[in-house]
């Protein structure tokens, strides 16, 4: 067990180091989500006048989005990095060591979680700087960091699956817009009960991303909401479990060592 822990720790360390050393992987997940939320908050402020809108601050309402959007960036970055390992033969180097397949996946995901955590700390700091106060206080901010790290891990494992299945960084980048569609057809800009267009409300209701956003949002604007939080953690865990299964299956095919 301690050997596996060592393997996971070292692989996670590598994952974090190589990402932190590439500004193109670090800066966009910090800048774009905060930029988007700032622009949206400025443009969609009148939405708060809608009857039943849960808060007077659209910025506070929309602040949950960067946490999920950052996780989507994690998917792409983590997948692209793993695909690069496959293409360069680095995965073969790892395969020739006594490394366990589970250690590779867990090391990978641990690295993604660390980066997801760091991103989330940045978004929390941004929220405090722009004057948003969390209804659940410091404890709520901590739960957001945990939830956001879990979401990053779940999506990061999805990225690992895509990398192991396709072996191509380009294929992973091609899936990024597709993942973004999930973000935009969610409740990111309007509470589901206030979405007037029927098909959009239906799409947002069946879209798991809505529940991830609503869980984070509840901690910022509503207070402790067991249902919203439970759903967010359950959806993140379900995406994570499905991604782990898919990634393990793809890894078995990719690591054809005897």
């Amino acid at each position: 067990m301690s050997r596996t822990r060592t393997q996971i720790g070292n692989l996670a360390r590598r994952s974090v180091l190589r990402t932190l050393r590439q500004p193109s992987y670090v800066i966009p997940p910090l800048v774009f989500p905060t930029l988007l939320v700032t622009v949206n908050a400025a443009g969609l402020r009148p939405s708060t006048l809608l009857h039943g809108f849960p808060t007077h601050s659209f910025l506070a309402f929309a602040l949950a989005v960067p946490f999920v959007q950052g996780a989507l960036f994690s998917t792409m970055n983590a997948g692209t990095e793993l695909a690069r390992d496959i293409q360069s033969g680095f995965l073969n180097r790892l395969a020739l060591t006594p490394m366990r397949g589970s250690a590779l996946l867990l090391g990978h995901v641990a690295g993604v979680m660390v980066l997801g955590f760091v991103q989330s700390v940045f978004y929390v700091c941004y929220a405090l700087v722009v004057g948003v106060r969390f209804q659940t206080g410091a404890a709520g901010a901590f739960v957001i960091l945990v939830l956001a790290s879990l979401i990053a891990a779940a999506f990061g494992m999805l990225g690992a699956f895509l990398a192991l299945r396709t072996g191509s960084g380009e294929s992973i980048q091609a899936t990024f817009p597709f993942l973004f569609v999930f973000l935009f057809i969610s409740s990111m800009n309007t509470p589901r009960n206030l979405i007037a267009v029927h098909w959009f409300r239906l799409a947002a209701t069946v879209n798991p991303v809505s529940y991830l956003i609503e869980g984070v949002r509840s901690l910022i604007i509503s207070g402790w909401d067991g249902q919203a939080l439970g759903l967010a953690f359950a959806v993140a865990a379900a995406i994570g479990a499905a991604s782990v299964g898919l990634a393990a299956w793809a890894l078995a095919g990719r690591l054809a060592r005897t």
């Binding site: 050997r3 720790g9 070292n10 360069s88 033969g89 073969n92 395969a95 054809a256």
Partner: protein, 331 residues
């Protein structure tokens, strides 16, 4: 199969890929402990596929192989514990330093924590990278990357080392340094080395024995000297001063043996036996008053062996071979 062999043994090794491409077609070989065995052939001949099978990264379609006494299909983890490998293209992380690579590799090989740093430093020193140990690999030259690749393969003191085209793309100085290190590993540490190459000189200088592979089959095997001896006598290549005199030169040369492939505008003869030498050829040409622009004595080379066994030169085969579309890696 010799079950007691602690080196490498392969019997009837076959590997097919999708689309019916047979990359390895019934390879038999035996490499003794401490031997440097060279696998010589053009690109796409099946060298890398064979290495992937022997290093347990690719299961064979048919046949059997043992490495360090362990079956490559059924005892993969034991094989991997006994081997080190530097596969084609130095597989390194450009964003990590050499020291960080060492740290990762020593940890994955489960070296005791207190030994990791020492072993890493020792190997970096050995391959001449101590001064560059804290530089990111993306700043390294091709030779430095190859040396780091070799050092990483040695972390767990393997008994058998697989090197897949370790000097491809390196300058002569880096190539020579790597040969020296590989030679030392075999001589001083008793490491068995299985080396693939497309360089004749590399096989000739470095390897105790050479297997020549073409289209997935071993077409010749032996020490470089033995292989060259199978070709026999040296050739004399003559370019007449007057190119119109080639037929007369050919008549003279044919007294000394069988005419063979010559340089452009030249005529060549493979000397038939010990009784003839270069001096005899020169005297005969002189006697016929044939003036010569160029005259060369060629000792047999491994390229001559390849030509004799396949009807092509290694360089020619290189151009002919098209790398097939394979699932996974093959060479």
């Amino acid at each position: 199969m010799a079950p007691a062999s602690k080196g490498i043994v392969a019997e009837g090794l076959v590997r097919d890929f999708k689309g019916g491409v047979r990359a390895v077609d019934g390879i038999d070989l035996a490499v003794a402990e401490g031997e440097i065995y060279g696998f010589l052939g053009p690109n796409g001949a099946g060298k890398s596929t064979t290495v992937l099978i022997l290093t347990t990264l690719l299961p064979p379609t048919a046949g059997r192989a043992t490495v360090a006494g362990f079956d490559v299909v059924h005892e993969g983890p034991k094989v991997r514990k006994a081997i080190g490998a530097a596969l084609q293209e130095a597989a390194l992380d450009p964003m990590l330093t050499a020291r960080e690579h060492m740290r990762l590799q020593t940890a994955l090989h489960a070296l005791p924590r207190e030994l990791r740093r020492r072993r890493g430093d020792e190997l970096l020193e050995r391959v001449g990278l101590a001064a560059a140990a804290d530089r990111k690999v993306r700043t390294y030259s091709g030779g430095m990357k190859r040396r780091l690749d070799l050092a990483l393969a040695l972390v767990h003191r393997p008994r058998i080392l697989f090197l897949d085209e370790p000097t491809t793309g390196l300058d002569p100085q880096s190539r020579s340094a790597l040969w020296q290190e590989v030679g030392r590993l075999a001589k001083e540490d008793g490491v068995t080395v299985f080396l693939t190459t497309q360089y004749l000189e590399e096989a000739d200088v470095l390897c105790d024995r050479v297997g020549i592979i073409d289209q997935g089959r071993i077409v010749a095997e032996g020490t470089p000297a033995e292989l060259k001896a199978t070709i026999g006598r040296p050739t004399v290549d003559v370019v007449p001063a007057d190119h119109e005199q080639r037929h007369r030169v050919a008549e003279v040369l044919s007294r000394f043996g069988e005419l063979t492939r010559a340089s452009p505008h030249g005529v060549a003869v493979r000397l038939a036996g010990d009784e003839f030498g270069l001096a005899d050829v020169v005297r005969a040409l002189d006697a016929e008053e044939l003036h010569v622009e160029q005259l060369q004595l060629h000792a047999p080379s491994l390229d001559d062996v390849f030509l004799a066994k396949t009807g092509r030169t290694l360089e020619g085969a290189e151009q002919e071979q098209e790398r097939p579309e394979l699932v996974g890696e093959a060479g």
